[in-house]
Symmetry: C2
Subunit: 364 residues, 2 copies
């Protein structure tokens, strides 16, 4: 499946913070066709470090398809022969250096100054992401969503959709998700993710666009993201206690690293090279602020939670308690556990095992 990245522009988006954001660019891609009634649409929302690229390939030569390709495509659980699937980049998407990403955020030019917003970009919320997506949906002629789905930060966007527009969202598929609000332990962990950026002397309150970038801090932040999204089973299987430099029997001086340290460093360095530190901070704050607790009585959708058993970031009990709360409100809720020892990332890498559960939920 070859897919095309498109651009949607919102002349002005009123943010939760009260700021009116002009000229908001949002990348998106679609798979399948919208029916005449405009009611066979599925919205896919992406995770913290993700992009709109949920399925297919942009180019035949792309080494990997989109992150939920196991679930989305012709004949797959989210069947693009039946559904019109839309997936878009969030505001403040992290990967500003990825040429396939189209987003408005701290690296965008502030029309008032003619310079990048940097640290002065307003706080954004998950609700703001939803409002931007809603404008795209209207532009595309979508009347209602058969389902809104996503993993992790994508799942909480789906929950936010269900709280804001209960009559436009028939189904929510929340993989590796919080319950009805971001739990305090995750709030604290997100704070820890951000700390290395704030410590980097190049960060300068986010006003780094004219100078050296806070690459070291962003690298450490992304290293911590990767680590907390994984699990010790993964670490053991791939690395064990091997030293990074196999010519030495034991890492016995302070400079020598274990293989797992070195691999995380390399991965994070590569990710940081195309990411933006201010965007990272805005996304973290958006996730911290997520809560639909006060609007839970508005909910009308059907819900499918897909927690990963070994998740150390959004523990399975977060989804379980959310599911229990929704059930107690009389809503239709199903929970299907992803097995594995890959941690939070099993919601991406091992999502295929939920295919039958998702297919049944989509058809019910």
């Amino acid at each position: 499946m070859i897919v095309e990245k498109r651009r949607f522009v919102i002349p002005e988006l009123l943010l939760y913070s009260g700021h009116g954001l002009q000229n908001v660019h949002m990348g998106y891609e679609t798979y399948g066709e919208l029916n005449d009634r405009g009611d066979n649409a599925v919205l896919i929302a992406h995770y913290f470090t993700g992009t709109s690229h949920a399925a297919g390939r942009y180019r035949e030569s792309d080494p990997e398809p989109g992150y939920w390709d196991a679930l989305i495509g012709p004949g797959k659980a989210i069947d693009t022969r039946k559904y019109f699937v839309v997936s878009c980049d969030t505001l403040c998407n992290l990967n500003t250096g990825n040429p396939d990403v189209i987003t408005t955020g701290p690296t965008s030019v502030n029309p008032a100054t003619g310079r990048p917003w940097g640290g002065s970009f307003p706080v954004v919320t998950i609700g703001d992401f939803v409002e931007a997506q809603k404008q795209l949906a209207e532009f595309l002629g979508i009347e209602r969503f058969h389902a809104v789905a996503g993993p992790s930060m994508g799942a909480i966007q789906a929950l936010e959709w269900a709280a804001r527009y209960p009559h436009k969202v028939d189904r929510v598929i929340a993989a590796i998700s919080c319950g009805l609000a971001t739990e305090p332990f995750l709030i604290a962990l997100l704070n820890a993710w951000c700390s290395p950026i704030l410590l980097d002397p190049n960060f300068r309150q986010g006003d780094y666009h004219d100078g050296p970038l806070p690459a070291a801090g962003l690298t450490e932040a992304l290293k911590l993201v990767t680590l907390t999204a994984l699990h010790d089973g993964w670490a053991k299987r791939l690395f064990g206690r091997r030293p990074a430099d196999k010519s030495k029997a034991l890492p016995s001086d302070s400079g020598q690293l274990f293989a797992i340290e070195s691999a995380l460093q390399q991965t994070a360095t590569a990710r940081a090279a195309i990411a933006d530190a201010n965007s990272f901070l805005r996304l973290a704050k958006a996730v911290q602020l997520f809560s639909i607790e006060d609007r839970k009585h508005d909910l009308r959708s059907k819900f499918l939670f897909l927690p990963a058993e070994s998740d150390l970031l959004m523990f399975p009990r977060y989804a379980e308690s959310g599911a229990a709360e929704l059930s107690s409100l009389g809503l239709s809720v199903e929970t299907h556990f992803l097995k594995g020892d890959g941690g939070h990332l099993d919601g991406l890498n091992a999502i295929g095992q939920a295919s039958e559960a998702v297919r049944a939920f989509m058809d019910a």
Copy 2:
């Protein structure tokens, strides 16, 4: 129980790295009396951020007793009417600004230069800690240990004792412990703990003793230690989603924090004020390097593992796999789980629930 901190000096300690360390000062305290045969001794080794202060109070006015006071004292599981309990500060103890701590480490003066070692202090290993403790034991007239015990980094010191001196250690009590080696996931997490220190511009390769201290980096490192040693049950119970500033309904600007963020910041700032960044790095490396895998066939002690069910730092399965491995070698191994939702710190804060298991193990 009022206890007295004492000082032991080792003229020269040969480290694993090959360095000969002169004039090593080690703080220690004892509870109970050594018998004539010198075989009723119990060694208590401390955790990463701990000190020798395992039980009792130094002064009547001390608000809290030592960290394992629930377990150690007259009539308690480790009964000081029967046992001579010794507890000592490790090399490179973290809390160099605590007046009750006596340690040799990066803040000590390098006799070759007359200046603090700083970043040039050699790498130390858990084995080095054990060798220093062994010299103290000999000085005190201890022939053998009825038990060597400790939580977390203390547990791995106990395991190292059993591997180095199998005929001098009758019992090992390993609370919130690794198995026979530090697992790769924990190696990576220790790396993440250290990152904020290395990012602090005041760190300057550890040569900060003449200038401003890397307090911000050390604070973030200690924040991450605290967070990873806890658990979401704790976070929910104590903080929920309350904002730090209750006068605002929602933390909606990037400066405002949730209560849990603010509390972790305050705690970490206070801890950092009496801690040393280079010592932190040396301790982290020592824990990363721990392994007795290659010496497991030498082991002769009885083992009691006390994993905490909600531990997110040294997962219960680490101790379980260690216990299984020791059992398969024909050794006597027991495992008793600490219940609770306090994470790794249940090995300190909730250790009292292991009293009967420890008492029975001590008498067996």
